[in-house]
């Protein structure tokens, strides 16, 4: 049965996914910064996202704020459990966020802000990936509070998911550059996309193999009859998208690689949902246990159903205004 709580679980999942879609390539550009040491390349790379990065990060605020509103108990348990990765992510985002403006405001220290942009992006991504792994492997809860230690989040599995996300965002960044740039810069982005795609497939494989060993629930969810009829299409679709992506890169297509990479992310994300549902804190708290009372859910649902389509509309418009290739020396004037 569909109830308000399930709707809200989908809304929060949607917000987090939109965040991954929008800020993923954005952070990926920061991760790739060290392999583009030329100033002209870096200026172009920055200019491909300068008008939209702020909106991209707003989805993270919606994910956090929305979770506090719709699933306050989960927010209250997860944040202390993920304390260190969360603080690291926030500080990383501070460094990379200010770099967008600061690097144009100084000549002497530009290199420092480039390092801040690259380092901040890497730390924020790693922290997000580690947080994801830490959630998947389960969190120690007593009563209505987190009851584990403050290093519980650090395990081989969470490090694996952290690295996997770094590779994934870097691939998104590389295919974004394929779409938004031209000439030698685009050629290098193609080359990087190949290597990163191979790495990403290894990472998806490794995380997929490791996840069932974390808990019996995951194994049953994926492999028990009749679930397997519903879960089998996910890896099959991953294989199909991968084939298309390889062909698109082979054809040197400009737009397809980015969107096919997003499709890979969507499938991985769906897999995550299959593993976790109906828990919001795996093995401890279900979405119904964490849900805010109905009148909070309804109050926000009114706003979400009117405002989110509007937001998607004007966000799409902003992307449309700044469409097309970004050329060296051609800023937005």
């Amino acid at each position: 049965m569909i109830d308000l709580t399930i709707i809200w679980a989908f809304i929060i999942a949607f917000a987090v996914f939109v965040y991954v879609v929008m800020d993923g390539f954005d952070l990926g550009l920061g991760i790739l910064f060290p392999v583009f040491p030329q100033k002209t390349d870096r200026d172009v790379i920055m200019n491909t996202v300068a008008p939209v990065w702020d909106g991209n990060e707003t989805w993270l605020v919606l994910g956090g704020g929305g979770m506090m509103a719709a699933f306050p108990l989960a927010y209250a348990v997860l944040m202390p459990a993920l304390y260190t990765p969360m603080i690291a992510m926030l500080l990383g985002l501070v460094f990379r966020g200010v770099a967008f403006e600061f690097r144009w405001r100084t000549q002497k220290a530009r290199n420092k802000w480039d390092i801040a942009f690259a380092g901040g992006s890497l730390v924020a991504t790693l922290a997000q990936g580690i947080a994801l792994g830490a959630i998947l492997q389960g969190i120690h809860v007593e009563g209505r509070q987190y009851a584990g230690g403050w290093w519980d989040w650090l395990t081989p599995f969470s490090v694996l998911t952290g690295i996997a996300l770094v590779i994934g965002y870097a691939l998104l960044g590389a295919t974004w550059l394929v779409m938004k740039t031209e000439g030698a810069l685009r050629d290098r982005a193609y080359h990087l996309s190949w290597m990163l795609l191979v790495a990403m497939l290894c990472a998806i494989g490794a995380v997929s193999v490791a996840t069932p060993f974390l808990a019996v629930q995951y194994t049953q969810r994926w492999f028990a009859w009749p679930n397997i009829i519903l879960t089998a299409p996910v890896p099959i679709a991953v294989a199909a998208v991968t084939a298309l992506l390889l062909r698109a890169l082979g054809d040197k297509n400009d737009h397809q690689p980015f969107f096919l990479t997003l499709a890979l992310f969507a499938l991985s994300y769906a897999g995550l949902g299959i593993s976790m549902y109906p828990y919001i804190v795996p093995q401890s708290i279900t979405i119904w246990q964490a849900a805010a009372p109905a009148n909070s859910q309804i109050f926000m649902l009114v706003g979400v159903s009117i405002l989110v389509p509007l937001i998607l509309g004007y966000t799409a418009w902003a992307y449309w205004v700044f469409r097309g290739k970004v050329r060296p020396g051609h800023g937005y004037h």
């Binding site: 605020v61 306050p72 944040m79 501070v94 966020g97 000549q107 909070s296 926000m300 405002l307």
Partner: protein, 467 residues
């Protein structure tokens, strides 16, 4: 490190530190976004070049300040969970939806149109660009609406019930949102943001007038800013007075701390101008006071009785010295700002507006006054709410996360180091932009600035900008 420290005290220090850094930027960008909208409207209406020059001049500063506001704001939205998870669990159903509405109605609006506002003038044309500027300005105001509503609910909670899990839930959303102190706090803060910005703009204008009295851009910005200060400062003092009366009604202990009234007064309470409140001995040492004036201010009658902190259990006392002094700093600056406004009016009337170096020096000195007043005001109201997070209902000690002191202490140190490194650099960049005089053919926050530095001559850049 931090073994034996109190984790709650460290969490409070972290909130106070990150919040103080953050609030400075919204206070400035709320006012500046509106100012930019006014400048662009004037440019569209009159086509006078000076307005678009000023628009581009302040837009560059806005871009840097806004970026810092965004990144320090993301920190705030997650801090409720990291350091204050019990608070998040208990108040999430009430506070959470208000913050979600802030994101949906304000943050997205600002972020969605910011890119077009900063870089899109040539791509979308002047009219659509003005719409984008307007949307950003409206977004900053909507943001103020929701976050002040949430904060006001913590000060004067209303319209709620408590469920079986011990969570606050909304019984009546309108009563929650429009809780008793909200209208006063909203007006007081938005006016404060406008005043803060007008003082910065006025200070920058005055700085350049001191070098060149004839600089058109500096004249226009100085005149506009001084009109704003002249008109808004007295309104702000009235609004603050009304806010204070509202606080007296709903949070009497806070007003007692602001006034330094440890003792009750049966017939007329004195107004303590200065002194040193001693929390332990429950008296204000070295007090300089005016008899019965406090009763006149708060009750509009010289002989009205006024209760003191002796009527409140000691464990519910806010920290009096901080509340007392922060309040005096805010009020003192408020009157100084009004003084600047009146002085500028006098000079304007005598035709000395752009010549009086005394006025210009005073205005430069008052440039940062708004920020200090805003910080002092927030310290007054937040410290005065202690020892509660939700006034009278949820104690600060019961709001924190189940974290050990070393975890909170380490993150506090990390925030202090990073914020000083990053925001000091940002403020230097802003001051550097302000040190440049506004000139004809001013460029916006062009991504071409480095391209010009890379070899295209400045002359070509100027031609480009004048286009």
């Amino acid at each position: 490190m931090f073994e034996g420290w109190d984790a709650v005290v460290l969490a409070r220090a972290q909130f106070a530190f990150t919040m103080s850094f953050h609030i400075v930027f919204p206070a400035f960008s709320i006012g500046l976004a509106s100012y930019l909208a006014v400048l662009e409207a004037l440019w569209l209406a009159t086509k006078r070049e000076v307005y678009i020059n000023l628009f581009n001049y302040w837009l560059k500063i806005f871009a840097v300040a806004f970026g810092m506001g965004v990144v320090s704001g993301i920190v705030m939205s997650y801090q409720f969970g990291t350091n204050w998870s019990s608070f998040a669990d208990k108040t999430g159903p009430v506070i959470g939806p208000m913050m979600a509405y802030e994101v949906l109605t304000a943050f997205f609006l600002e972020a969605g149109f910011l890119g077009v506002m900063l870089f899109g003038l040539e791509r979308v044309g002047p009219r659509l660009h003005f719409v984008a500027t307007l949307m950003v300005a409206i977004g900053t105001l909507i943001s103020a609406f929701w976050i002040l509503s949430a904060n006001s609910w913590m000060q004067t909670p209303a319209g709620h019930a408590v469920n079986a899990d011990g969570q606050f839930v909304a019984a009546d959303w309108l009563k929650v949102i429009f809780n008793p102190s909200f209208p006063y706090r909203l007006v007081h803060m938005v006016l404060a943001a406008y005043l803060t910005t007008s003082l910065v703009v006025g200070g920058v204008g005055a700085w350049h007038l001191l070098r060149d009295q004839h600089l058109a851009g500096a004249r226009v910005m100085f005149s506009m800013a001084m009109w704003m200060a002249t008109l808004v400062a007295p309104i702000q003092i009235l609004a603050g007075d009304q806010h204070g009366l509202n606080t007296l009604e709903h949070q009497p202990a806070k007003v007692m701390a602001m006034e330094g009234h440890f003792q009750s007064h049966k017939d007329g309470a004195p107004l303590i101008l200065f002194g040193w409140p001693d929390q332990k001995d429950a008296k204000v040492k070295y007090a300089i006071e005016v008899p019965k004036l406090s009763s006149l201010v708060l009750k509009h009658s010289l002989d009205a009785p006024l209760a003191g902190l002796d009527t409140v259990p000691r464990e519910n006392w806010p920290p009096v010295p901080i509340t007392f002094w922060a309040f005096r700093i805010m009020v003192g600056l408020g009157f100084l700002i009004m003084g600047l406004g009146l002085f500028s009016l006098l000079m304007r009337w005598r035709g000395m507006m752009y010549q009086s170096t005394l006025l210009h020096r005073f205005a430069v000195l008052m440039g940062p006054a708004g920020f200090i007043a805003v910080l002092a005001g927030w310290i007054t109201t937040e410290t005065g709410r202690q020892p509660f997070t939700v006034y009278g209902l949820l104690r600060t000690a019961d709001s924190a996360s189940p974290l050990a002191a070393p975890a909170v202490g380490s993150s506090l140190v990390a925030f202090i180091i990073v914020y000083f490194a990053v925001f000091v650099a940002g403020v230097i960049y802003i001051l550097r932009l302000m040190a440049q005089p506004p000139h004809p053919g001013e460029q916006g926050p062009s991504t071409k600035i480095p391209a010009r530095a890379a070899g295209i001559t400045p002359a070509a850049g100027a031609v480009e900008g004048a286009r």
